[in-house]
Assembly symmetry: C2
Homo-oligomer: 475 residues x 2
């Protein structure tokens, strides 16, 4: 039996026992060793079963004692279906909706469920401030000079060190800093592509990437995507002859929060390399895993330098700092040239501050806390949605990241919901933003990066009521 399938099956079995109440809250689970024996699987497969269940918030690990059914009942709503976009490359202008929703960004009067970013309340503001002051003092000429084109070497070194955690084994010289991850992706696309090329992406996918691709004159081929395991490999295989570039967010992508299994990553990297199709990997959410371990990246399996791995601290530390980077593999020299052309260099002070922050253990502490908060938020959101949203509402089951994907029944158009909600000072991201095609009209993305509170719960309730009013008006 396929390994992949096997561990999913075992995990699903245990999950079922938990949700049906056969296994009680707080009850101890069998050991990894016992699971191996019972199911005749390898240690690795057994471990993955537990990681999977932990990622779903169904179990907790206790050091030295093993795994236990989560004390907190994990509330779940039905999962949306695998997306089924038309397998045609589109190059039409993205929906106007994107610009409309993004102008809400930075508007302090709104509850911004629409923007995928952690709230400032969840960030280590005082420590970051200290780093900025120190960097301004420590840098030659106060950081006013042009920085080296490749970017702050301390920052690159810290990113390289951290890459060991996901099997990246990068060297500082393989990295180039950028003004945030979007800038990294933009530089990558200009490096490996040319107008007229077709890019394969997940569907639904991040609206900014759609806009970027179209503005650079590319066509976009959206591919079927599973709400928990991400891009469907079979569809990618079929699409190979039609595509020039592949752009994926394998770890906790927005809006689905899906996480591609390592086996899939490996297979995709090999498939694309064998066809000389560059893979741009956007890994901005990789550090925000809900499970026990950070997932690997496609870059972890890259032997040919064919993967351009992009990330940033925008989703974990400070969206407004615009500190990102890319490990462009064999495309480094070309990408450096493009960076020089479009922005000359990055902001020294901010890069130095982030480098110093990463150097201490504080970043790990902060991430641990942030992950726990996001996971709790996810549970609170889903429970509230179950309580107040129209019957039949489905949600994704993110295994990390900042996004929750909500699917209403077909009668509820989320563009209409946006218009109603904004009047109540609530901003959401309607599903139509996440595609160039006519799909996801009944979906929306909610950011779970806002600190949970009575007010947030109230705003979700309001959203639910508005959705119900649309549903009943259209009967």
């Amino acid at each position: 039996m396929n390994k992949e399938f096997l561990y999913h099956e075992i995990a699903a079995g245990i999950a079922n026992q938990i949700t049906s109440g056969v296994l009680k809250n707080g009850e101890r689970l069998p050991s990894v060793r016992k699971l191996c024996k019972d199911h005749r699987v390898s240690m690795n497969t057994a471990k993955r079963v537990f990681l999977e269940l932990e990622a779903q918030s169904l179990i907790d690990s206790k050091p030295q004692s093993g795994y236990f059914v989560s004390q907190r009942p994990s509330f779940r709503l039905p999962l949306p279906e695998v997306s089924r976009p038309l397998l045609i490359a589109y190059d039409n202008e993205p929906d106007e909706l994107i610009s409309k929703v993004y102008t809400d960004m930075g508007n302090e009067e709104l509850t911004l469920f629409s923007i995928s970013a952690p709230s400032g309340d969840l960030l280590p503001l005082a420590k970051l401030k200290k780093e900025i002051i120190q960097a301004t003092t420590a840098l030659k000429e106060g950081g006013t000079g042009y920085e080296h084109l490749q970017g702050n070497v301390k920052l690159r070194r810290m990113i390289a060190v951290r890459s060991l955690g996901w099997g990246g084994d990068l060297h500082e010289d393989e990295l180039v800093t950028t003004n945030g991850a979007m800038n990294a992706v933009s530089l990558c696309l200009m490096t490996v592509g040319k107008p007229g090329d077709t890019i394969a992406m997940e569907s639904p996918c991040y609206p900014g990437t759609l806009q970027l691709a179209i503005s650079l004159g590319f066509k976009v081929l959206e591919l079927p995507t599973h709400p928990t395991t991400g891009l469907e490999i079979a569809a990618l295989k079929e699409a190979i002859p039609k595509i020039n570039i592949c752009l994926l967010v394998p770890n906790f992508n927005t809006p689905l929060g899906s996480c591609m299994p390592d086996e899939h990553k490996k297979e995709i990297v090999e498939l694309l390399a064998s066809h000389h199709i560059p893979l741009i990997e956007d890994d901005i959410y990789g550090d925000l895993y809900f499970g026990a371990q950070r997932p690997k990246c496609c870059k972890s399996f890259d032997k040919e330098g064919n993967v351009l791995w992009c990330s940033s601290v925008s989703k974990t530390l400070a969206p407004g700092y615009r500190v990102g980077w890319v490990a462009p593999g064999k495309y480094k020299e070309q990408l450096l040239k493009i960076k020089l052309i479009h922005s000359i260099s990055s902001v020294s002070i901010i890069q130095e501050s982030v480098a110093n922050f990463l150097k201490t253990g504080r970043y790990e502490n902060h991430l641990r806390q942030l992950r726990r908060t996001l996971q709790d938020n996810y549970q609170n959101y889903v429970q509230t949605i179950g309580e107040y949203f129209p019957e039949g509402t489905k949600t994704s089951r993110p295994q990390g990241g900042l996004a929750l994907w909500v699917e209403f029944n077909k009668r509820i158009d989320t563009r209409k919901l946006y218009d109603l909600a904004i009047k109540q000072r609530i901003s959401i991201a309607p599903g139509r933003m996440f595609t160039l095609q006519d799909q996801f009209q009944n979906c929306m993305r909610l950011c779970i990066g806002l600190p949970w509170s009575v007010e947030i719960k109230q705003k979700l309730k309001q959203l639910g009521n508005l959705a119900k009013s649309i549903a009943s008006a259209s009967v």
Copy 2:
């Protein structure tokens, strides 16, 4: 008689009297009123004569007393000819030289005559540091959040206020902040152009713009340019049917340091508007005038919103801050969309700091001092070049900015000079970088933004000796 011609003629007459010794150092010049009477010209024309002479460092103004022949003899070398590029649109890859020279950027072991930026020694480092600390404290959430897409409103307001000084009369809402001026120009090109378009530029021109244009799939038409008055209007008129966009640096452009007379600016703005050709104006050096008054911009004459005015603080305050902006006229909405796509937002902390610095009088004080230093540097450079460089060396007469253009006789190839100089830890910018065509091989640009010292003089002497060695080897 044409006004333009008239004031040039009167100024040239007085200049001649000064350089030939008829008017002695320190001698008082006739008053503005007397000049009006003698030459039967308007007050405005008479004033412009004095401004012109002051810009050429030939005379000084003393408050309440009038104008005097400069105490310091203005040393001059012959002026290079008007450039004569082939009037064919090129889309070949820019010379490899550009990348080679730019990798020297940030290398602390080199004397960087090659990079057009003020040395940190000439910048108000302590005050800037203070502003950064204050901004980090004052900003909501320490500036970690995404900034509003259009950029920091205080910064935009200050730029608008300052625009009154050059007849811009901008409103904060007409401005968009960017990551430096190159990023502004890049956004402008993506906003108004499409691959295959032809852009008219000055020749020689800034290498980064050439790279940018080619990388975006444009063709470049280089136009004849006068070393002191800039772009030749007749050539632009002839080129109109062939071009889609015009990109100029009218004030103290690099590498020539020329300044386009206001009449030319007005004429060009009207000409381009009547043919619906957008004008991207890069005004990064505008505040670095050596004369008495800041020159106007093309934007000052823009009635149709057809001029996209770009600038930054990279040449005046802090290259490494990457704070720039654009007033995109009627293209604002499109440009905002492009900004969102490629970089989402700018760095809040740095923008806030610069805004606060501009708000105080300190910026004006700093600029006054910086201008004086640059003007003195220019004199020192030219004198040293006259002393140590091969006979027949010509130099531009910048009326502002950071660049000095040096033209050797044809036997001296500055690419060879670069290779020899870099071994002595001196980096220069060979002329071939500033064109897509086969020209300027015997030219180079020197940055005059390094503080004058015995060492700098020594490095220039070394350069001169190397140039002589090339000349004699090729006889």
